[in-house]
Symmetry: C2
Subunit: 471 residues, 2 copies
């Protein structure tokens, strides 16, 4: 894949024999060959990457996927799997060669079953996250993952990218069905097989970015629907105050908070300015803000303990302002604001996103110093910080607004990114450019990179699965 401006979309080469064989499997409904119809599959939603494809194939089920992969295996055709195409890192966009096929999972969209007693849900890979959430809710349960793209992103994509980080898909997945590079179907949906010890192949597939096989279905772990959820939006002048607040909530509320979504004041302001229908939750301006949700009913009405902790923090001067999600509409407003960040960035201009991990104790100093670097090197570029505070993961987006587009070129943004990475390392953390899919392996110790390559070689000896991305 190339930056969008380097490789404009061109129709793929004919590949007549491949076309014929795949058509025999998936039929008219499963092939996209018209150049116009192919376009959305060849470009990521942000328009950052643009590739070409020999064909776009949309199998209807696991059996068709298996047959497609057998043909690809025999013909040495490389495969890029695509779900909702909502990724931020280009993992689902084909490269510019025109040799790859895009295997799109969108027609595999059945929820195969919901078992509320045993807290499981079995879904095809192409089911959207929102539909899984709804099906869980309809059965009186809940599915814990929430993402800004939940209306469009798919479970298969959530799994391949390990969406949700430390508390994400790894913890929420009980089984997988995977079509291997040679077309064999591994039915690992049945959780019973993983409960007796031994190596856990499922965990290896989660986060593998389509480089080991095609995930076609998953058994997901549901949770009892909490009898109550208390939600608040808080503002503070110091980031450290929010880190301390999270710690207090963890200690005082057991499993809570269910969410602690950090946003810098800049990020909040950008969403309010760019995304229609969003509303400011607080009256004042605050350098750091957070959406907090606690679930459970240990306290009867759960707002009780959350209110107590927030009142204490306010009294101590740590919080500037607090708003409670006192009505369902207000709670919806809070989430819309948080989930609008990606759209806001897209509307605002060029952003370079960096994923940072830092020890919680160093987060505040990092953000302050990153701000100083920007002030010095490129005062027109804005730094937007947001993320799940839980484990010190932070997204930092460098935003070059339209007005300064001419003044701040890509080289300058790249230099800024490198400065951020160096700063993160200084603070005992690390950072990668969000679009840099290969970074984890390149940044890994040489020994780890060697082990990863051996596993790749063992499971995909012809290197046909999403070549050029993670591997």
């Amino acid at each position: 894949m190339n930056p969008a401006h380097d490789a404009p979309a061109r129709p793929a080469a004919p590949h007549a024999e491949l076309h014929r064989r795949l058509h025999a499997i998936v039929g008219d409904a499963g092939l996209v060959h018209d150049a116009l119809a192919q376009a959305p599959y060849l470009r990521d939603w942000q328009g950052r990457w643009q590739g070409r494809a020999a064909l776009v194939v949309r199998p209807a089920d696991t059996a068709q996927t298996s047959a497609v992969m057998r043909v690809c295996h025999e013909t040495h055709t490389p495969v890029v799997t695509q779900g909702g195409n909502t990724g931020l890192r280009g993992g689902a966009t084909p490269d510019a060669s025109g040799a790859q096929i895009v295997l799109h999972t969108g027609r595999m969209d059945r929820i195969r079953g919901v078992d509320p007693v045993n807290l499981t849900l079995l879904a095809d890979a192409g089911v959207t996250l929102a539909r899984v959430q709804q099906a869980a809710q309809d059965a009186g349960r809940s599915f814990a993952l929430r993402l800004g793209s939940e209306a469009r992103c798919t479970i298969g994509g959530n799994l391949a990218t390990n969406a949700g980080g430390a508390t994400g898909m790894r913890a929420l997945t009980l089984g997988l069905e995977v079509v291997l590079p040679d077309g064999r179907v591994w039915n690992g949906l049945d959780r019973r097989h993983q409960d007796h010890g031994g190596l856990d192949l499922r965990q290896l597939l989660i986060g593998s970015e389509g480089a080991l096989g095609v995930i076609t279905a998953a058994t997901l772990r549901l949770q009892p629907r909490p009898a109550a959820v208390a939600t608040a939006w808080v503002g503070a002048a110091q980031l450290d105050a929010l880190v301390a607040l999270q710690d207090a909530l963890r200690a005082r509320c057991g499993g809570c908070p269910a969410a602690f979504e950090l946003m810098s004041g800049e990020a909040v302001a950008l969403v309010l300015a760019q995304v229609p229908g969003t509303r400011a939750p607080l009256a004042g301006r605050h350098a750091f803000q957070a959406l907090i949700a606690c679930s459970g009913t240990c306290a009867g009405p759960l707002a009780g303990p959350l209110q107590a902790v927030l009142a204490e923090a306010s009294a101590a001067g740590a919080l500037g302002e607090v708003a409670f999600g006192s009505t369902p509409a207000k709670v919806q407003d809070f989430w819309r604001l948080r989930q609008g960040i990606a759209e806001a960035q897209l509307r605002a201009g060029r952003t370079h996103r960096h994923d940072v991990w830092l020890p919680l104790s160093r987060l505040s100093a990092f953000v302050a110093q990153a701000g100083a670097v920007l002030q010095r090197q490129a005062p027109d570029v804005r730094l937007l910080c947001f993320g799940h505070l839980g484990d010190g993961s932070l997204h930092c987006a460098l935003l070059a607004p339209d007005a300064t587009r001419a003044a701040v070129d890509d080289t300058a943004l790249q230099a800024l990114g490198e400065a951020l990475h160096a700063l993160a390392t200084e603070h005992g953390g690390s950072a990668v450019a969000a679009q840099d899919l290969d970074a984890p392996r390149r940044h890994a110790h040489a020994i780890e990179a060697d082990l990863l390559m051996r596993i790749k070689q063992a499971l995909d000896p012809n290197h046909l699965m999403n070549p050029g991305k993670v591997f």
Copy 2:
């Protein structure tokens, strides 16, 4: 490894050259060659397996472990890693060949660091679970895993066996240090490297039973120490009542319950009869009992919501009796009773343990029918059931008391075990004999077994790591 009665301990062959080279690395303090001193390393604590070893090697640190593994790699010497030797499945006992060395981690017992702000603890593999718990507590935090063997089992062993099941070491581990089969040291301790996506090698090592490398240290995830823990012991006539109770607690108390430890009345009675210092928590006899712990302080004094849920269940006739852990001494009594099961079985005679997984909705029917099978086929054999109720994992121990030792032979016990396995499968679950380390791979689909073997081959091409166990 052989059943203990088949292969009595004999002194290992001299292996003079291997001895000389390993001695040069670990010195006198790191080699155990006297037959008497070696004996405890060659036999599991239950006395079920007995093997022989070329040498028992106790490296002092990671560097020595690396040097030892380099020698083993060069000399094609197979290696069995051993921690606290508290396993129930024989994974740490050498085979009868006398060709393997036992690599014991007991001298690697430093806690390298505790970081309470960032909720991490870095420990050598040979540190006991109890010491990790204590170090976390000393820092005002907690480490969530509790096991009956915690005073002796080691973190390395907990990791290699994935102790604690679904909510166990997988969720509590942030990083690993591993000496590979060729002696290279993979430093994967730093969690920052895993937070940017890609394949997660750490998860592959957890549960690998020493078959891929030697885990020498781990970065563990701590939790804030809950401000309150409420504990209760309950008795019920029906297992289903306890399943429903767990569900009610999950819904009402958010993250709670922190523990829901099921024991059949038979299992409780056995511990009370066999283990000195244990006390009956309830006045009456109940077919099913459970230790329940909820942590957090959502409710101020947490006993509130737990009491409310238990009172409701009692009023509905679901519970026969309830006792609260109203003093620290009482809470300690509860846990001693739960953790005494393994010791009680050992004292009582021959037990054959089976690990069963069942959908929660079928648990009750399974246990009732298993009891009927026993009644029919071997009325003198007792069935003890216990386990973490959370995810439907159940341990079933068939106990042939001394008095009937002559009457019930191993073949009969084995037939009973097979009947249990068939019954579990009928109910949509599965079961393996606890000592059957190879079962997960044998029971896996052929395709999964093939993938596992490819990974084994990629990471341990000479098959020197714990041969004959998982692989």
